[in-house]
């Protein structure tokens, strides 16, 4: 075992050889050290938690385990034999399967095709698909996780959460291909699942561990503590601790991840100021055909209204229609008492509304463009003189926001796609903050996929904005987060407003209270 590791009550189980042993993996990209000596092992029938901030090296590590990246040095041993992974197919054949954080399903194929993609086995004979066999085998995988998704459904027609379940089913299919017990890597599998789905997944992990070993990566420390037998903490590309859940709490883990204590709750609840009197946005009878039904909503200056609801409750559609990205009808929508014209995003932006979509990679940023170019995109006229862009001015503006939001980037001209998720999200937020006149910011899961530190920064940012009078419509990853950040919580169910719950600082409702209205 690596002597550098600060062992916090490490479980000693000599004699049981590990299924997977990773020793001193190192990897450098150009000037950045991604891994700086990662060592850990997974024993048979064990669920191992892996936590760390974004940029701590989790993604790189997982990629190496399935052959999507090669280590500069160090070894990976699978059942006592040293292996060099060359790709997902080879890793799968050797018995390592991965559920991707960025979903790896092909949208225009059916669920059955996706589950068995590349591993059709007897479902393909002589190069021809045998559809009945394919469906049967796919159904077996879906049954394992108790899902009722149709194997014939087109993947693109499924919700994000359903797709995640299909992804899990796809990995479970590996256990039938390898005679040995597989190692299943779950890369933040719960980040887009709702509560019930998460429970199904956890039950599945419990079932899975009787025949496999699991590596579970998540930002939700409570989940990691709940399902894992042991937890490894990564920091700056290094394994810094190995813990047993019974002996540590979330605060300890958080401290290990960041390397210092977080002062109080990271939601900074004491900074929640009361909303102002003036109504900024007043919505009456907003209807999106088939999804939202006569929604009424008042949003005050400096107020955060959280929208709670399960998948399909209409909350995304409500937000998108307010931004003009979705057609809707309404009796009236006014801003500062004047009718709001938001028939298109362009009109909404002109009315000082900003929108941060949940699917960052597809809708939130252009990875091939620079940080500066991404930041100035919607308000390019601010850095234009006549028809010409003033690149120096643009750069100065970008650098100002990089500094203010502490975006970790080599420079303002670095490609946004090359930054870590948290820093990408900060740049996406900066895009709207650039405008002085921003009045309403719609945030769709602004902390999705971010680590604890980055999340805290986003929360701080929301607090700062509201202190400045900006109104915020928020949808969040967890109820806890939603309640903590909001002044009021709008609970949606089946396209209608089920309830509006006050959530003032110091008197936050319990998550269960909100949940009651949702389901």
């Amino acid at each position: 075992m690596n002597p550098d590791i600060e062992t916090v009550e490490a479980e000693q189980s000599p004699g049981v050889p590990p299924v997977l042993a990773v020793r001193d993996l190192r990897k450098r990209f150009a000037e950045t050290t991604a891994l700086d000596g990662v060592t850990f092992e997974v024993r048979p029938h064990e669920v191992v938690g892996l936590i760390g901030e974004n940029g701590a090296g989790k993604s790189t590590l997982l990629k190496m385990l399935v052959g999507l990246a090669r280590p500069d040095s160090g070894t990976i041993e699978l059942r006592g034999r040293r292996v060099k992974m060359r790709g997902i197919a080879q890793a799968g054949a050797a018995g390592i399967g991965m559920v991707f954080q960025e979903q790896s399903l092909i949208p225009n194929l059916t669920v059955a095709e996706n589950i068995l993609l590349g591993a059709e086995g007897p479902a393909v004979v002589g190069g021809l698909y045998r559809w009945r066999e394919l469906r049967r085998r796919a159904q077996v995988q879906l049954d394992k996780i108790g899902s009722e998704i149709s194997v014939d459904a087109l993947t693109e027609s499924l919700s994000f959460a359903d797709r995640q379940l299909v992804e899990v089913a796809k990995v479970l299919a590996t256990e039938e291909r390898t005679n040995a017990e597989p190692v299943v890597l779950l890369d933040e599998p719960t980040s887009v699942l709702d509560r019930d789905e998460t429970e199904v997944l956890f039950a599945q992990i419990e079932r899975l561990r009787t025949r496999a070993s699991v590596v579970f990566v998540s930002h939700r420390l409570d989940e990691v503590l709940r399902v894992s037998d042991r937890v490894y903490v990564l920091r700056n590309g290094r394994t810094v601790a190995e813990c047993v859940p019974g002996d540590v709490d979330e605060a300890t883990l958080r401290k290990l991840m960041i390397g210092r204590d977080l002062a109080g709750s990271h939601y900074d609840e004491e900074r929640q100021l009361p909303a102002r009197e003036a109504v900024r946005l007043a919505v009456r009878g907003l209807t999106v055909k088939g999804v939202c039904d006569h929604i009424d909503l008042d949003l005050h200056e400096g107020e955060v209204v959280g929208i709670a609801g399960v998948q399909g409750s209409g909350r995304e559609e409500l937000c998108r229609s307010l931004f003009g990205a979705l057609a809707s009808r309404s009796e009236s929508v006014t801003m500062h008492g004047r009718p709001l014209n938001a028939r298109s995003p362009r009109a909404a932006i002109a009315s000082d509304i900003g929108y941060v979509p949940a699917e960052r990679r597809r809708e939130g940023m252009v990875g091939s463009m620079s940080v500066a170019e991404n930041i100035t995109l919607p308000h390019i006229s601010e850095v234009c003189a006549g028809p010409l862009l003033q690149r120096r001015k643009e750069r100065a503006l970008a650098e100002e926001w990089i500094e203010r939001l502490r975006i970790r980037t080599p420079s303002a001209s670095a490609q946004l796609g090359s930054l870590s998720g948290g820093n990408q999200q900060k740049a996406v937020l900066a895009r709207w903050l650039v405008s002085d006149s921003l009045r309403l910011l719609i945030l769709d899961h602004p902390t999705r996929g971010l680590d604890v530190g980055a999340k805290t920064e986003v929360y701080q940012l929301i607090r700062d904005l509201t202190a400045d009078g900006v109104s915020v419509l928020l949808m969040a990853d967890s109820l806890e987060e939603l309640i903590a950040m909001s002044h009021r919580v709008l609970v949606m169910k089946d396209g209608r407003v089920a309830e509006i719950i006050d959530a003032p600082a110091g008197a936050k409702p319990a998550p269960l209270r909100v949940l009651e209205g949702m389901v």
């Binding site: 990209f29 150009a30 000037e31 950045t32 050290t33 901030e53 974004n54 940029g55 999507l68 920091r235 700056n236 960041i258 390397g259 931004f323 990205a325 995003p345 362009r346 932006i349 929108y355 597809r362 809708e363 940023m365 252009v366 990875g367 091939s368 463009m369 170019e373 995109l377 919607p378 390019i380 234009c384 028809p387 010409l388 862009l389 690149r391 100002e400 203010r404 939001l405 502490r406 970790r408 080599p410 420079s411 490609q415 090359s418 948290g422 895009r431 903050l433 650039v434 002085d436 680590d451 530190g453 980055a454 805290t456 920064e457 701080q460 940012l461 607090r463 700062d464 904005l465 400045d468």
Partner: protein
Amino acid sequence: MAPARLGLAPPETGRAPGSPRPSRRPDRATILADFGPLGALVLLCLLFGFLSPQFATWGNVRNVLDSASVLAVIAVGLTFVLLLGAIDLSIEGVMATAALSVALLVANSRNDLDFGFMGVLAAVAIGAGFGLASGLLSTGLKIPSFMTTLGMSAIGIGIATVLFGGVQPALRSPELAEWASGQWFGLTRLTYVAVAVVLIGILVQRYTRLGRYARAIGGAEELALLSGIPVRRYKTLAFTFAGATYGLAGVMVTTQLGSGIVQAGVGQNFAAITAAVVGGTLLSGGRGGVLHSIVGVLIVTVLVNGLVLIGVSPYVQGAVQGVIVVAAVVITAWPLRKRLRVVK
């Protein structure tokens, strides 16, 4: 701006002590994608310079730049369309109409018109009109640009055929003849035209919304819409700009050949797309740019020129060109292959 708004940003978060300073240097793959084609160009020049005594002469430099000028002008316009993630197959048709138009509008052997340089402007405007039509059809009716521009090409060739009417109009305009053979500072005048267009292209790409939005739309169209960019307007604008460059290219070919021919643009569509891709402007959109495409144009031109100069038999030149182009693309794309890019 309101600096006070975010005065309370959290200290130190996410910036772990002792972590390596983020470098200002882009990673290796990006460097190779950006500068690989330039390296290939330099390599080709060194190779031909070594194998042929005439290659590195001033006369040949002038010749190569003159030969590249038409393709360069086309590539500048095409680049904006490619950045959008669209494609333009109308080059041959637009050039044909522009070639015939300019030949009939300046002093010529067929009619008594003589509008001089207004005729040139008119031909460029006609090209822009074709681009505008392609753009409006693509964005308004949501027809893939592949189809609309192919149709536009056929229309262009059709119009040119009507204008041609059986007798090629030969230029009788001394001003234009001067542009065909005249030189300034040892380079042909058309070379300067191309350089000017390239500079305008760089300016448009770097300093105008058109350039910025073209990359944004090609990179993530959804985001462009959500950022309030009038996507349709800028797509149409990009096609229009491209059409104008094809029109100018048609004029240039007509000037060089001394008469307006329907075949003025034959083969240029394929050559221009090849040059753009070899230079690193991807067909998937969002990546590359004017300079990338120009490097591609020079690679293609130097290749044709060099193979003739070193005396490769005409019977195998085609194959040798193909091998070198493929090799250049492979070398450029080699470091990117690990990124699991989907290649279509």
